[in-house]
Symmetry: C2
Subunit: 284 residues, 2 copies
DNA sequence: AGCATTTTTTGTCCTAGACAAAATAAATTT
DNA sequence: AAATTTATTTTGTCTAGGACAAAAAATGCT
């Protein structure tokens, strides 16, 4: 039996949210210890983790949290089918995905090395690495990967691209493009792929990584004298403040700096501030 | 101005604790927005981060939190002097630190490459990389680095070690040591250094990275069949529950698995559960 | 269909008190 | 004097139910 702090830690759902779900939706239903504190069973924690996965897919708590086990199973299966429809997966990548999902890291690395050697960095990133990244995300969303498996895979993919980039070497001169994600956005792979393509075409980059406060991006852009700031927005980041953030950026950056945005999250954006440009990996 | 949730995230001090410090010690003293919610200034956050560092050194909240700026400075300086006595800084690393703090990434990389070639991976990690990591942390704590500079530096250091490890290659066979940090702990460099030393001595590793839920560590350890689980706790790791976490781990892991812990955060631990061992990088 | 406005949903924050685990101080025994 | 036990202080986590605004969905309007 686990205390609410433990549950928060293991599910990523805050105490406040756990308590308010209990009040509003009747789940979870922890027992109480002699102190009167909530204690959660392992089963409830597991169900909370499943619920979290569904929420990350964009489902709403009111439609998911109150569900009985059966309905929850059904919903998870439906989503699984939709995300992993057979047509989506290129057979050429099936082996890579299999290696990824069974956790055979050395074999995965070897296969990636071969693909890289065969295709060259640019084609490799566009045709092999990016689809693989997407497949991992879908497997994770479908619950076919444990959290730790996804951790390991992402780490390996990051590492692989880092190594590939180091072979190309850092282009000389001052950086031209600054890369980063805004706070709340933890997905680094999009940035890395963009960086690899830029470096491969001889343009020096400055990668700030994920979760960078807006004013730090401004400061870094000014100090480094880049001509472009590239931001990545993943699909699961649904913040409606993207537009506000972009407007603030446009206002605070030097007028000569142009802004690229990319990632699955930009598709839902409609009107964009001027000097903001949607970029895909292909167009780099 | 920042909300309490942001402060919790940026300082690692929980909301509850922030509120109760305010009540008990008269610090922090956030203002209120029109909703009546606490809003913290950047200065207060910075002071909270300094306080946290002092607490991580083993000082008690009651002796530190209520202090005025002056007394806090004095205390910090005393401790700083103890930590960074002049003999501690190897002149050979001064140049690396300078390159790091002025943001000249290519030059830093070159210098690191030279040191690596000269010393070999193990000595390099122990004698050059680890002190450099520490120095970056000190610079950051002393406010001599912007956030984005620290982001970039850390990224570069991670990348450099990843590349160095990839040259050694992944040892064959099943992984022996699983590495990771518990939720809330974002510092990956300690893990990476340990991994580099392990790989260099021919032991296969499985690095889960940072912020891994405890039960995922258990699952991963069971599935991968490792003989050792290595955890890193940085000095600024605020969770006071390290011992609880360790006890839970001991209980849930197979009895044959032994646990290594390392990092600046383990110093304040006194009694440890059996089968938990404090490891330094040197002893790997 | 595209856009603006209303309604519902949802997570974060509030207060102030209770309590046990950890750390320290004090008392006792070896 | 050192070690062990007991008392006291310190400290962080948890409780309750209400309030509120941001986000999402639903509705109305070109």
């Amino acid at each position: 039996m686990f205390a609410i702090g433990t549950v928060e830690r293991d599910t990523g759902i805050s105490r406040d949210t756990l308590r308010i779900w209990e009040r509003r939706y009747g789940f979870p239903t922890p027992e109480r210890n002699d102190k009167g504190e909530r204690v959660y069973s392992a089963e409830q924690i597991q169900r909370l983790q499943r619920i979290r996965r569904l929420l990350d897919q964009g489902l709403r708590p009111g439609k998911v949290v109150p569900l009985e086990d059966e309905a929850l199973n059904k919903l998870a299966n439906t989503l699984h089918d939709v995300l992993l429809s057979p047509g989506d997966i290129d057979p050429a990548h099936t082996r890579l995905i299999d290696l990824a999902s069974c956790g055979d890291i050395p074999a995965l690395n070897t296969a990636l090395e071969q693909a890289l050697a065969r295709e060259g960095l640019s084609s490799f990133v566009l045709d092999t690495f990016a689809p693989l990244t997407k497949a991992v995300g879908e497997l994770w969303a479908a619950g076919r990967l444990q959290i730790f498996e996804e951790h390991i895979l992402t780490r390996q993919l990051v590492r692989f691209l880092d190594v590939a980039m180091s072979r190309v070497g850092h282009p000389p001169g001052n950086p031209e493009v600054l890369l980063g994600t805004l706070p709340g956005e933890q997905h680094a792979l999009g940035l890395l792929m963009a960086e690899a393509l830029l470096i491969n075409s001889g343009r020096a980059t400055l990668n700030l990584g994920t979760d960078v406060p807006l004013d730090e991006i401004v400061t870094a852009a000014e100090r480094s004298g880049v001509s472009t700031v590239a931001l990545s927005f993943s699909g699961c980041c649904t913040r409606n403040t993207i537009r506000d953030d972009l407007e603030e950026l446009v206002e605070r950056l030097p007028p000569t700096v142009c802004i690229w945005i990319g990632g699955d999250g930009v598709r839902r954006l409609r009107r964009l501030p001027p000097s903001v440009e949607i970029m895909s990996l292909e167009s780099i």
